[in-house]
């Protein structure tokens, strides 16, 4: 049936942990061409198979690991994979996306996707090869961190095996536990590590063997692809962002820039700039702790920074991590922030939510909302970082409150307005009062406050592709919709968004066309992204979310008092109304029948 298929294998693996059974099944061509891969097909299967009211940590939830048509080809930055599930942190559909090389080795095993369902009675791990799959016991791995788990599984299955696993945070069902692959790369933010933990699944090992055994990805038009790959590489090399900034400084290159623009949040978003920000900048990382660059599979950018402190070594911190565990907590000690980052990575915690939840606790404490047990949880106190991370992972004492994220924490202590979150997901490292597009992007993101759904910072501050006025409002709803759709497509071909800082958006749709043989223009690509976005919205609507959830915390209706972004607030009602009009949604944020028809979607039934 699929012998003539290019780009995809046309096959998924379904793993039922309750029955300890794994079997392959075909993926209909219509799903592949309409949803492409990664996030797209993950969301499609989730919407079809997991009821929107399902308990995210119950056996009825599923998790889809998915690759895309470019994985396994020569197209740069395509070593990634996606995971989609219902999030225990937000209650929404949730996709995340990780680099390294696990994704491409999953594809080498001959699967476009893996659907994991049910719950094992005992800790297990999943072992995939081109010949099939097996479910193995993992009792001996219980309680182990990411490095120890990965080392143990590679010791058993060989160095060519790639490992994606959870740490103790996932086992203990911390609501923002990550899944970590290839030691240092994370499927982060929404607590999908806890979903694996709830299923007693410690790890997935992809064991594609030597090259001869690996299942190749067929390319429809190799000559055309060669030209496109050359052009993509040319662009990556020539761009100051991808060819220089990310390569030299990593993502933390943004610290000084965002601080100067007045949108670098300090002390739980109480200010937008700080005189000591340079101490945790990309420059400081390179000068003080940098060891070497590291790159994902097929990536010429190599933004990863392997680092070493006086007491540890690892990867990062990235921009978001150095902010969340640093500036947002009023901490500007690079050594302390880096060690906290290492701890999160090793234990399997999301750094943004970990830092932002601690920052929320610090403000609650500052305002006298917390009891004595929280003594010392103060802005600027670097000594509390590591102990708090350990308590979160163990869900010990005050750590049990922190393990639920900032929304539940602030609500418990009577000050919900102090949680800097949307839909339960903590806001990342850009104050939306200094980039009005980000305000709308956070508010309308289907997975909660996220910078990766529509990174308007690129247009509003970095001039990508050309600069927008960051304080204008009327052009932002269209920009946000365009970026949301484009990124939904990009997450579905499963490539790294950093290329967007150097490579025009049509190059990758041309690459998908050359690989699959389908004609996918940039216009069609955004249409596919729009379909995925609306399907996610339908799911969230069915889970009970609507207009009231597309909102920022009240803090953002008060302007910053100092810095380059002082004096502005986002006009949320106007922008949201325009956004709904563009999307073809009702005033309550529900896709209209005509919109669904245009996109080839149907309303979701409650019983998926």
């Amino acid at each position: 049936m699929y012998s003539l298929m290019h780009g995809w294998h046309g096959k998924l693996l379904r793993v039922d942990l309750s029955k300890a059974k794994a079997q392959t099944e075909p993926i209909p061509k219509a799903i592949l061409s309409s949803y492409i891969g990664g996030r797209g097909i993950g969301v499609r299967y989730l919407a079809d198979e997991v009821p929107p009211e399902a308990d995210p940590l119950g056996p009825g939830n599923k998790i889809v690991l998915a690759t895309g048509p470019l994985n396994g080809t020569t197209v740069p930055v395509t070593g990634r994979y996606a995971a989609v599930s219902k999030s225990p942190l937000t209650g929404t559909v949730f996709d995340c996306n990780s680099g390294g090389s696990f994704g491409v080795y999953l594809k080498y095993c001959g699967f476009d996707a893996v659907i994991i369902e049910g719950k094992s009675p005992e800790p297990v791990y999943l072992h995939l090869t081109p010949e099939g799959a097996s479910i193995e016991g993992a009792k001996g791995l219980r309680g182990k961190g990411v490095k120890a788990t990965t080392d143990a599984l590679r010791e058993k299955h060989g160095k060519s095996a790639r490992v994606s696993c959870i740490g103790p945070a996932g086992e203990n069902l911390v609501l923002f536990a990550n899944i970590e692959n290839d030691y240092h790369h994370a499927l982060g933010r929404g607590g999908l590590g806890a979903v694996l933990g709830s299923k007693n699944l410690k790890a997935v090992v992809v064991d594609a063997g030597e090259k001869a055994a690996q299942v190749p990805t067929s390319v429809a038009h190799p000559d055309a692809l060669k030209v496109i790959v050359q052009e993509i590489n040319k662009r990556i090399q020539a761009s100051p962002m991808t060819g220089k900034g990310l390569k030299i400084f990593g993502t933390a290159q943004l610290v000084n820039l965002m601080n100067a623009m007045g949108i670098f949040p300090i002390n739980n978003f109480q200010q937008g700039t700080h005189p000591e920000a340079d101490k945790i900048s990309g420059d400081a990382i390179i000068e003080q702790i940098f060891q070497s660059n590291t790159a994902c599979h097929m990536c010429p950018i190599a933004c990863g920074k392997l680092t070493r402190t006086g007491t540890g070594e690892g990867k990062g911190p990235e921009y978001e991590s150095v902010w969340a565990l640093g500036a947002d907590c009023g901490i500007f000690d690079l050594e302390a922030v880096t060690n906290a980052n290492y701890a999160c990575n090793e234990l399997g915690l999301d750094t943004i939510t970990a830092g932002a939840t601690i920052a929320c606790a610090m403000e609650l404490n500052e305002r006298g909302k917390l009891p004595a047990a929280w003594k010392g949880v103060d802005f600027g106190n670097k000594d509390v970082l590591l102990p708090l991370i350990e308590k979160i992972v163990a869900r010990d004492g005050i750590g049990a409150d922190l393990a639920l994220g900032s929304k539940r924490l602030a609500a418990k202590y009577g000050a919900p307005e102090l949680a800097m979150q949307v839909k339960g997901l903590e806001m990342p490292a850009y104050d939306p009062r200094g980039a009005l597009g980000m305000a709308l992007a956070y508010a309308t993101s289907n997975r909660g406050a996220c910078h990766l759904r529509a990174y308007t910072v690129g247009a509003e501050l970095l001039g990508l592709p050309k600069i927008f006025d960051r304080f204008s409002f009327s052009d932002k709803p269209d920009l946000v919709v365009k970026l949301q759709n484009g990124n939904a497509f990009f997450d579905s071909i499963v490539a790294c968004k950093f290329t967007g800082m150097g490579v025009p958006d049509d190059y990758y749709s041309r690459a998908v066309s050359a690989v699959t043989g389908l004609e996918i223009t940039i216009t069609e690509a955004e249409h596919i992204g729009e379909r995925i976005w609306n399907l996610e919205r339908l799911y969230n609507n069915a889970a009970g979310l609507g207009r009231a959830d597309d909102a920022l915390p009240p803090r953002f209706q008060n302007p910053l008092q100092s810095g380059a972004s002082k004096g502005h607030v986002p006009p949320m009602d106007i922008m949201l109304n325009m956004f709904y009009e563009i999307r073809g949604w009702t005033d309550e944020g529900v896709p209209r029948p005509g919109t669904l028809q245009r996109l080839g979607l149907k309303p979701l039934s409650k019983e998926a």
């Binding site: 030209v227 050309k466 009327s474 052009d475 709803p477 920009l479 041309r510 607030v569 106007i574």
Partner: protein, 220 residues
Amino acid sequence: MSEVNQPKGKLLTEAIIAEVYPQFKKFGDFLRERQYNSASSGNIAVRRGNKMYITRRGSMKGDLQLGDVVEVSMDKDDSNIVIASTEAYVHRNIMRETPALATMHCHPAHSVVLSMYYTTVLKQDYIIPIDVEGNYVLKKIPIVTLKNPTGSKEMEEEIPKAMRNYNIIVLNGHGVFSRGPNLTEAFNWITVLEEASTYIFKAIQLGLDIKAFEGRYEKW
């Protein structure tokens, strides 16, 4: 603007035009400086939600006034359509059928004359730049040849179709249409194309074999 003081209806339109007009003015001036238009030819348009804002029919792009910015619906015809640019339907369809949030149309001389040369002499319906910048940025520019290349239904249908995978096209013997996420980008494509066309024009004058300098972008 504060959350409690947010304009609606006519006041919202005025607030949007207050943001849009300075941009129209700036790019209208740029078009005049570069002599890409006659006194009132060409159009500038942006999308804002379910509205399009476009230059008034007959407005002088080098001397745009606040009243020269016309609001029309993206979804249906309204009475403003009679004072909007003659090409309003083309711009609106480009915004409906491609990722465009801003569009521009003008008549840069070298690009227009090359469209005639390529289609009649070289028998080729696209331009591939021969200079490094043009090649790097544009790769390939389709030439669209129509029976009725001014204010026609054919234009409204064929130009958006041709722009589904290209940021700029040349309408044979008439002018260029470009698109982008904002006017800066749409204008940028025009300047790069016109510069690339100037190089090709001069290369032909010097008797150079332009084919020897084209990149391998026939299938782009």
